[in-house]
């Protein structure tokens, strides 16, 4: 018995030391590094990428609306900086063949264009309203293209077993509808797995969950996610299929030419 107790003590101490050093190691990763890696994993995998997206918008009465589109993305400029996005809609019928183009900037408003095929109209859209719904879903434009890291101050909270927990407070509170939001980021993949938004009365009103994560070309990729608006009961589920990185997209694809004439070679896959 005495021997067992001794072994137990050594083992426990050993475990404590290892665990302790692991905790010490965690504490040494700065919050800046964590969010930078999470941002990179979410929006900057590879030099470019594409995916087919199936979006289901469900209201609290169970009524469903569906959107299907293909999204193309290319990183332009240095580091995790400016990007260009091209979205081509297939469903529903009133969005069919509509195309949407965003040139994402960090230092100023995004440039956005919408193409309406029935009138051959390329319409420029004001880029400032980033926190309005993307095609009627629970996702905002900002969720699709990414929120600038310097828009909020970031505080590292107590981590969970598997996740870093970061609290984000907006530097310009009047420009957003939340008072703060908390992100749970997976420690090994750096995928944000859950986000909770608190409104100006500090009440939880919006949540995001990554439901399914797959490794695509070695990159952890969210293939199913849900954004829920708790005040209206409306939730939007996104399913990403045929995700691919580094397909060799040329920057010229992200121009007015291809709004009028969808780049079929990249959209049919």
């Amino acid at each position: 018995m005495k021997k067992f107790k001794k072994v137990l003590t050594i083992v426990t101490t050993g475990v404590a030391l290892i665990a302790g050093s692991a905790v010490a190691k965690e504490a040494s990763i700065s919050v800046e590094k964590i969010i930078k890696k999470a941002n990179h994993t979410s929006y900057y995998g590879g030099e470019d990428g594409r995916a087919k997206v199936s979006m289901l918008i469900k209201d609290d009465q169970g009524r469903k609306r569906k959107r299907s589109f293909t999204i193309l993305r290319k990183d332009v400029g240095k580091g995790d900086g400016e990007q260009k996005f091209y979205v081509f809609f297939r469903r529903p019928s009133d969005l069919k063949n509509m195309a949407f183009l965003v040139w994402k900037h960090l230092d100023r408003d995004d440039d956005r264009w919408l193409y309406l095929p029935s009138m051959d109209l390329v319409k420029r859209i004001a880029g400032s309203d980033k926190r309005t719904s993307f095609v009627g879903s629970s996702f905002f434009y900002e969720d699709v293209s990414g929120r600038g890291l310097d828009q909020d101050s970031h505080v590292l909270l107590e981590p969970t077993e598997t996740q870093y927990v970061v609290e984000n407070i907006p530097k310009s509170p009047s420009s957003v509808e939340f008072s703060k939001y908390t992100v749970w980021i997976n420690k090994s993949t750096f995928v944000p797995e859950r986000i909770e938004y608190l409104n100006k009365s500090d009440k939880l009103y919006r949540t995001y969950r990554a439901l399914k994560i797959k490794s695509v070309q070695g990159r952890p990729t969210v293939v199913m996610s849900v954004m829920k608006d708790l005040t209206t009961g409306v939730e939007t589920i996104n399913k990403y299929s045929k995700v691919e990185y580094d397909i060799g997209l040329d920057e010229s694809v992200f121009t007015e030419r291809y709004l009028r004439k969808p780049p079929k070679q990249f959209l049919k896959f």
């Binding site: 067992f4 100023r108 390329v122 004001a126 880029g127 400032s128 009627g136 969950r209 010229s252």
Partner: protein, 449 residues
């Protein structure tokens, strides 16, 4: 020993119970439940490669009526059912597209099909073949073409418009009419050139008394059906052709474009000595710029309308040349509320010469006619309910035109909308004032497939 072992085993057990318990108490939808939502979803349809042919369409039933007493016209302004067929084929050799409306109009019953006026059973909106050859995109056939920076105001968009549809409550897309043309676009990193050759002049579907009453300079009164007029068609293939060109580029979020047009005034506004109304020659050139500014969008456009047949302004039967300018700004006003404003002015050149040609009894055209427009768009209920308001007001002529619409997307396949077109003016001979008796309300149902 047993006690310790038991305690060691208890820890993971408690942890497990704790986690499960926590999960249950949160009662969040699980992955499987969400996946089930997609089960009736044609999953395989999403994954499988689409064929080259795509088809879509709708059925739109629409009805409109005047709100004031009609002058020389029926009370009905609109009553029709349209079936839209949109068929596109993406083949290796080229892309082909057909867009056609089949119109059932129990009020008008037109007997003949006029593909240029959009009368009759078929209103063909597109019949084209498109091909890319390196840096050049070609599109040949019947097609709708749009460019320019104005919102419901056009300086360099010299492509035909359907003013009747615009005034009576058809969907916005019907303001633009297709023309039979060849469009060639050349792209390089420094600029883009768009070139459109329309071999047979495509006029506007102008107000001619049918459905919409207008002010007639001949009778100096508002007339309608009884005084429907026909303009001399420009039907000479080639010599009655139009050329439109645009050179554009975008740098750092600012788009600059230069434009040129050689053709004719789009609505018949000139008269020969024998009384025939016709479309005189016109050249237009100018530029536009559009950029983001202070969180919104700003645009400016300028054009010189060179009325080739009356450069000196001394011919009273042909419109004078004009300078046209437009400036606009768009910005989010509040959550889900977009607002924009424009200022537009048409300035008549050689006004002194014009003054000399005025005869007693003729209504004088103002030297400059300006417009202020306001647009408000409010989106509600996850963008399923959209309220739109667009208003024109002319300080120079003291008249106005307001378009209001409420559209509700009931499901992905069904939309209902209702709206009004209201004209008002101090005088009955100004651009909007003359249409006062045409003010109407309308409603529509659209089923998509």
């Amino acid at each position: 020993m047993n006690v310790i072992l038991q305690q060691l085993l208890l820890v993971p057990l408690l942890f497990f119970v704790g986690v499960v318990g926590a999960a249950e108490s949160k009662s969040e939808t699980t992955l499987d439940e969400y996946a089930a939502d997609f089960a009736d979803e044609d999953d395989d349809e999403l994954d499988e490669e689409e064929g080259p042919i795509s088809f879509s369409g709708f059925i739109d039933a629409r009805f409109g009526n005047r709100v004031w007493t009609a002058i020389d016209n029926d009370n009905f302004t609109l009553g029709e059912i349209r079936a839209r067929v949109d068929l596109q084929g993406d083949f290796y050799v080229a892309t082909m597209k057909i867009v056609s409306d089949f119109v059932f109009d129990p009020i008008e019953h037109p007997d003949t099909v006029d593909l240029y006026q959009g009368n009759g059973l078929i209103d063909l909106r597109e019949l084209s073949v498109a091909k890319s050859l390196g840096s050049v995109d070609l599109k040949v056939g019947r097609q709708v073409i749009t460019w320019g920076t104005g919102d419901m105001l056009f300086i360099h968009d010299m492509f035909p418009k359907d003013w009747k549809s615009f005034f009576i409550g058809r969907n916005d897309e019907y303001l633009k009419v297709a023309q039979d043309a060849i469009k060639a676009s050349y792209f390089n990193p420094y600029f883009t050139v768009d070139f459109v050759w329309t071999p047979l002049f495509a006029s506007d579907r102008y107000v001619d008394g049918n459905r919409i009453s207008y002010f007639s300079g001949m009778t100096n009164s508002v007339v309608g059906e009884s005084t429907e007029f026909d303009a001399e068609k420009r039907g000479a293939f080639g010599s009655d052709s139009e050329i439109s060109m645009r050179v554009s580029q975008t740098w750092g979020g600012t788009t600059v474009a230069l434009y040129g047009y050689k053709g004719f005034w789009k609505s018949p506004n000139a008269m020969r000595f024998d009384g025939t109304i016709y479309y005189p020659e016109l050249w237009v050139y100018g530029a536009s710029v559009q950029s983001s500014l202070l969180g919104g969008l700003v645009n400016a456009e300028y054009g010189h309308y060179h009325s080739k047949e009356d450069v000196g302004g001394l011919n009273p039967m042909v419109p004078n040349s004009e300078l046209r300018f437009l400036g606009g700004y768009e910005h989010e006003l509040a959550k889900n509320l977009m607002g924009s404003m424009q200022y537009y002015v048409e300035y008549m050149l050689e006004n002194d010469a014009y003054q000399k040609t005025l005869m007693p009894g003729m209504i004088e055209k103002v030297e400059y006619r300006d417009l202020i427009t306001i647009r408000l768009t409010k989106m509600m209920m996850n963008q399923t309910l959209i309220l739109s308001l667009f208003s024109y007001y002319s300080p120079a002529e003291n008249d106005a035109y307001t378009r209001g619409n409420i559209a509700l997307t009931v499901t992905d396949y069904l939309t209902v909308d209702a709206g009004a077109n209201v004209f008002a003016g101090e005088h009955n001979y100004t651009f909007f004032g003359q249409f006062e008796s045409n003010s109407n309300v309308y409603g529509g149902i659209k089923i998509r497939f």
